[in-house]
């Protein structure tokens, strides 16, 4: 059996009396697209936040490439190669598209202007950002120096996805990446997800959109009541099975534990 690239065991997270994660396990294999599905409030977002350093679990361990990690901040997770698109997108509305894409990863000018005076290389960042947005097919963005607050919800989501795709080197986590997107943009994001996988980078995809999940996922992690209920292969089950599992209408039997 190959080693999972990102693994969690016995994660617990409580907010006061609410238990968001209840001894949750998680495995992401190299080069796969793992979908995480679950009812609202099942703890999907808490799981993602624990994996991406946004919250600290009360108990349990996380291993990246077999090494135990404890991220104190999202920046540490990013520096370890885990890039995340959160449901809230984590964009700064008053900053430009370029500034948002590079926040925390700014490129400085070469030579003394960059090393001593810390000047940013706006030209280089602009070119890179435009290229990334074009790859995503975000043609309707007319000006890359536009403030993010002037973009539509879908365009904002596109910027956030482009940022994660550009900086995630080991794992990319997408929390509802297509929720605000139109048909065409959703397709682009799905194509991008497949493209990222073909570059060998595994993806965690959280989505309520069953057709999307069943189309791109290699395995589906069904989350229920704060823990992993089962992991299913989309080829062996139907969408209605998956919905039945995640709502508790049906109990999984003989499910595959690991692929």
């Amino acid at each position: 059996m190959t080693q999972p690239i990102l693994q969690a065991r016995g994660l617990v997270k409580r907010y006061g009396r609410v238990t968001a994660l209840d001894n949750c396990d998680f495995d992401l294999m190299a080069g796969e697209i793992l979908a995480v599905i679950g009812d609202n409030g099942a703890g999907k977002s808490s799981l993602i936040k624990a994996l991406s350093g946004a919250i600290k679990p009360d108990a349990g361990e996380i291993r990246l490439d077999g090494q135990e990690v404890a991220f104190a901040s999202p920046l540490e997770a990013q520096n370890a190669g885990i890039a995340t698109v959160y449901q809230t997108l984590a964009l700064s509305p008053a900053l430009s598209i370029v500034d948002n894409m590079f926040i925390g990863h700014e490129i400085r000018k070469e030579g003394i202007a960059g090393s001593l005076f810390r000047a940013l290389d706006h030209g280089k960042m602009r070119d890179f950002a435009r290229q990334k947005l074009n790859e995503l097919g975000l043609m309707t963005i007319q000006n890359i120096d536009q403030k993010v607050e002037t973009l539509s919800g879908g365009q904002r989501q596109g910027v956030a996805v482009a940022r994660a795709a550009a900086f995630g080197s080991k794992v990319i986590i997408l929390d509802e990446p297509t929720a605000a997107l139109g048909v065409k943009e959703s397709r682009k994001v799905l194509d991008l997800i497949l493209d990222v996988r073909s570059r060998g980078i595994p993806i965690i995809l959280i989505s309520h959109n069953m057709p999307h999940v069943f189309e791109v996922a290699d395995r589906i992690h069904v989350h229920r009541l704060g823990k992993r209920l089962c992991v299913i292969n989309p080829k062996d089950y139907t969408m209605s099975d998956a919905v039945a599992f995640m709502t508790g209408a049906k109990q999984p039997e003989g499910v595959m534990a690991e692929a």
Partner: protein
């Protein structure tokens, strides 16, 4: 639905038409805009234009009302001198307000550091340079204390700095024994402290080093805020702190650096204030906190954080100075000067709200 039979990776049926979709960059017929709408759009794109326009218009207006007495190189440079201390404090205040905070203690830090530098250099025989360095360190430390209360103890900035305002003010009265340090004592023992009172005369213009220092501080901060990663982080933190944290900014560290830098600028203002006032009075600039906030607000910087250019605060400070000078030279009573500044604040924020409502 029988998904098992569905061929994978082909997309949904209804998506098959996407290959033929339009790939041109979107363009639209635009409706002709009225001049007022054009102005609104222009101001929305360049928020610093508002204080610039107000400044130019008020200079022109007072030039007409008060005549040559007002509109002379001497008087205009005098205005710069008069606003230099509040201007520097406004620069420090802007940094805090950009992070969606507010600092009620800027003037208290300044006066405390002036008293410390003065006591050390004039009475204790510490070399002036060392005394100033100690005051700078003290200013940064006082700012860090505010930053610590905001980031680690998680108090609202208003409460933290309301508390430290009183604390620093009390320390300042204790250290100074509520006594001023006289101008001639400073001249005799530590003339370096008065450096920023020195003047460069060009014709009838009287530029003090303090006026130039104010402009220099604004230019340096403008560069830091717009051309460096740190500056982008300051705006991001002020805009939405949680989002900034998730995006990979160490927001607490950014905030601490902002408060420390703001405190340091207050200590620099302390040095400049000794040159400007001549003596060191523990009672001076008691309402400097509020005056600095006034300059920032008139400069079009949002109190909700993340929006506005620091140069706006410079123009804001100058607008206040122009109004005070112009009304005084026009023979208007001091109380009506205060009255006018009050309306100016309300007008500035009202214009800001109007600009924000810009519709495409």
């Amino acid at each position: 639905m029988t998904d098992t039979s569905q061929p994978p990776r082909k997309g949904q049926d209804f998506e098959q038409v996407l290959d033929k979709s339009d790939t041109r960059v979107a363009s639209f017929e635009t409706r002709a805009k009225s001049p007022v709408e054009r102005l609104q759009h222009l101001l929305h794109g360049n928020p610093t234009l508002v204080p610039v326009i107000v400044l130019l218009v008020s200079i022109a207006a007072f030039g007409v009302i008060a005549g040559g007495k007002f509109f002379s190189a001497f008087n205009l440079t005098l205005i710069m001198q008069q606003v230099s201390i509040i201007g520097i404090l406004a620069a420090a205040q802007t940094l805090i307000i950009l992070t969606a905070g507010i600092d009620l203690s800027v003037a208290a830090i300044m006066v405390l550091m002036a008293v410390i530098a003065g006591n050390l250099a004039v009475y204790s025989g510490v070399p002036s340079g060392i005394a100033l360095l100690i005051a700078f360190a003290g200013g940064a430390g006082a700012g860090l204390m505010n930053g610590f209360l905001v980031t680690k103890i998680k108090l609202p900035p208003f409460i933290s700095t309301l508390g430290t305002w009183s604390i620093f003010y009390a320390l300042n009265l204790w250290l100074s024994g509520a006594q001023s340090i006289r101008s001639q004592d400073i001249d005799a023992n530590a003339p370096l402290l008065k450096l920023f009172g020195e003047t460069i005369a060009i014709g009838s213009a009287r530029l003090t080093y303090g006026s130039l220092l104010m402009v220099l501080i604004f230019l340096v901060l403008w560069y830091m805020l717009n051309k460096t990663a740190w500056g982008r982080h300051v705006y991001a933190v002020g805009d939405d702190k949680d989002a900034a944290e998730l995006a990979g900014i160490r927001t607490d560290r950014t905030l601490l650096s902002v408060y420390a830098l703001s405190g340091l600028i207050c200590a620099i203002a302390a040095w400049a204030s000794i040159g400007r006032v001549g003596s060191i009075s523990p009672q001076a600039f008691y309402d400097g906190n509020l005056q600095s906030i006034t300059a920032v607000v008139i400069g079009g910087i949002s109190l909700f954080g993340g929006r506005g250019s620091i140069l706006g605060a410079l123009f804001g400070a100058l607008i206040v100075g122009v109004f005070q000078s112009g009304l005084r030279l026009a023979g208007v009573d001091v109380l009506w000067q205060v009255f006018a500044i009050g309306w100016l604040i309300i007008l500035a924020v009202a214009i800001d709200q109007w600009i924000r409502k810009v519709s495409a």
